[in-house]
């Protein structure tokens, strides 16, 4: 049973204009997206900026309202405020943001920041609360002395760990992590990702890991989807996506990742330019006439792999490249 299921989610922002400031159209930030996350798994959501990743994340935690579609948690639709309250959804689902400096209140001390969600959902005595904050700081490898400091006194990686400590303070079932390591150096990024994995093992938390970094997602996620223009172009396991990409958009993303072997440079560039040329020539075939991503279809020979490929596409076969 999945911990959460997003069904036919649409989040459209109206574009207003004209003399009467009427709705002239929509930014279809999320346009009919389905996904489900298993307990204790890290699900990856990859896409370039503006593809709609954050909007999905924010809609799941309830910061943004869906235009249509449902989000099923414990069998009930939590896009309805009533159900959210009943299921203590806001306690069970937390979020970590990319920009740790602006998402932590600069005028509050770390212990207040971490304890805030606890105070919202539990009644603890001051000493119990302090004890809990110390525990949480310990989990993310921060010294106890950090409790009485302010966010600006920490480096980016440390702040991100504080964000994680705050998110886990209510023992959530799901954490939406929106680009949690994108602003960090490689070495610090490794540390934060390790902590996320530790916490996952310890509390059996599910993550929705939103990232534009294909390397990070490959490291962390068994299942993932690739998103562009508000829709999923490809869904599957990491092997499906990284070893047998079907959609031209996925191929293009994969081709763009720099290879850390300098000897592959020429071939990589050649391959990239080839994919890029293919993308440019056949772009129309991969989208409908409104530039909308086609519907996902199962890739033959697999029950995990789906791709938004054209009807008549002969490439829709396992291993076809």
């Amino acid at each position: 049973m999945s911990i959460i299921e997003v069904k036919n989610l649409k989040v459209w922002y109206p574009i207003r204009g004209g003399f009467f400031n009427t709705i002239k159209g929509y930014v279809k930030a999320v346009d009919d997206v389905n996904l489900s996350i298993e307990p204790g798994e890290t699900y990856g959501l990859i896409g370039e900026s503006g593809s709609g990743k954050s909007t999905i994340g924010k809609t799941i935690v309830g910061i943004e309202r869906p235009t249509s579609g449902s989000i099923i948690y414990k069998g009930e639709d939590v896009t309805k405020g009533r159900n959210r309250k009943k299921l203590k959804y806001n306690r069970d689902v937390q979020m970590i943001f990319q920009d740790s400096l602006s998402s932590l209140n600069p005028r509050k001390r770390i212990n207040d920041i971490i304890a805030e969600p606890i105070r919202n959902f539990e009644k603890l005595s001051k000493t119990e609360e302090n004890h809990r904050v110390k525990e949480l700081l310990d989990i993310v490898g921060m010294p106890k002395g950090s409790m009485y400091k302010y966010p600006f006194e920490f480096s980016g990686g440390q702040r991100q760990r504080i964000g994680i400590a705050r998110a886990v303070s209510t023992h959530p079932k799901l954490i939406v992590a929106d680009e949690p390591v994108s602003a960090l150096d490689l070495s610090v990024q490794a540390q934060v990702l390790n902590y996320m994995q530790d916490i996952q093992k310890e509390f059996n938390i599910s993550f929705l890991l939103i990232s534009h970094d294909l390397g990070v997602v490959r490291h962390m996620c068994k299942n993932l989807s690739i998103m562009t223009r508000g829709r999923f172009v490809e869904v599957g396991t990491r092997e499906d996506i990284y070893d047998r990409p079907q959609h031209i958009y996925t191929k293009r993303l994969l081709a763009a990742i720099p290879d850390i072997n300098p000897r592959n440079r020429q071939e990589d560039t050649k391959e990239r330019l080839r994919v890029e040329a293919e993308y440019e020539n056949d772009e129309k075939a991969w989208y409908d006439k409104n530039h909308r991503v086609l519907d996902l279809k199962p890739v033959s020979g697999s029950n995990t792999h789906y791709a938004a490929v054209p009807e008549s596409n002969s490439m829709v076969e396992q291993g076809g490249k």
């Binding site: 370039e48 990024q189 490959r218 068994k222 763009a256 072997n261």
Partner: protein, 334 residues
């Protein structure tokens, strides 16, 4: 010999750049030397706070003179740049040395049309008429891969995407065909596909103009894609210098090896990533004697470390600022 001399574009020797913090000066760049040649892409790589941007801004003289001090020598084709005044620098900046920055939105003036921002560079370094400048700017826009040069010429920065803005910045930097381009994290703020395009573009321009590029990044993948030579920077020092193959295939310094080790690999799901303990210290807390990296590899006994590390040549053009590199091992190895 003359040929070799002809090839040297930039020679930096014993560069020290210090910032004033609470009335005291601290070196952010601490005794760096490097040589940039024609047709060469020289990558500087390291975590943030290591002094990469400070090195770049020292070269082009863009530091606040009141709160910083530059010592040592930076020679552009034999001409000493350290100590030039603003007017003298203005003749070199834009004409002989172009610069590309990390954040392509904030690097453009929001109130000025992008066309005017490009022609402005030509205005101060050429005798071209207005019409000629505009013609050149349009050619530049086309060269950097902007689909609609005429239309884009009249746009404002906020009307363009991040990738397009970075192309504008590049066209400004190369407007006067400088021999040297200094690019400070030019792709860090961009999506991977755009990053790939910008890297290709920079490589092409470099070939076309036979220029030398100093390319600053914290992304080792990008280094592997673009660099000929690499300088690994830690705490204001170049701790390892070598060809791109030296660095990726035969890294010597514990820092270089740690960095390479922390890249997420294709391996098993959920493998633990290698973490470099601690962080780059702020300037005022930086150790000034002995090895600056030693605190981050605490399992190496003090006796293994050198008192004051000096450069050791480990190959042709491959130098390492360290002695224990031969015995260094990761904590989990043993």
């Amino acid at each position: 010999m003359d040929k070799e001399k002809d090839n040297v574009l930039l020679e930096i020797e014993h560069l020290h750049t210090a910032f004033r913090i609470n009335g005291k000066f601290y070196n952010a760049v601490d005794d760096c030397s490097l040589t940039l040649r024609k047709n060469e892409i020289y990558a500087i790589v390291g975590e943030s706070g290591c002094g990469k941007s400070t090195l770049a801004t020292s070269i082009v003289g863009l530091l606040d003179p009141l709160n910083s001090k530059v010592k040592g020598s930076i020679k552009y084709r034999g001409q000493e740049l350290v100590g030039l005044n603003a007017d003298e620098y203005d003749k070199i900046r834009g004409e002989d040395i172009g610069m590309i920055f990390q954040d392509p939105l904030s690097a453009l003036n929001p109130l000025m049309r992008v066309g005017d921002q490009i022609t402005e560079a030509l205005y101060y370094h050429t005798k071209d008429s207005e019409a000629e400048r505009k013609k050149k700017a349009l050619e530049l826009l086309k060269r950097v891969g902007i689909p609609d040069p005429e239309g884009t010429f009249r746009r404002y920065p906020h009307e363009l995407s991040g990738g397009m803005r970075q192309r504008i910045i590049i066209s400004i930097a190369v407007a006067c065909s400088p021999e040297i381009i200094i690019a400070d994290e030019p792709t860090t703020a961009l999506d991977v596909t755009i990053q790939a395009q910008i890297i290709d573009l920079l490589k092409d321009i470099q070939k076309e103009k036979e220029s030398g590029i100093i390319f600053i990044t914290h992304d080792l993948g990008v280094v592997a894609e673009i660099a000929d030579r690499v300088g690994v920077m830690y705490a204001g020092q170049l701790v390892e210098i070598g060809s791109v193959f030296d660095i990726f295939e035969d890294p010597k310094h514990p820092y270089t090896r740690s960095l390479l080790n922390s890249i997420p690999q294709a391996g098993e799901l959920g493998d633990r990533l290698h973490v470099i303990q601690g962080n780059v210290p702020p300037l005022s807390e930086m150790k000034r004697s002995g090895c600056r990296f030693a605190p981050r590899i605490p399992w190496i006994p003090a006796s293994a470390h050198e008192e004051n590390p000096s450069y050791h040549q480990v190959g042709d053009g491959h130098y390492v600022l360290c002695t224990c590199y031969q015995t260094f091992h990761f904590q989990e190895e043993k």
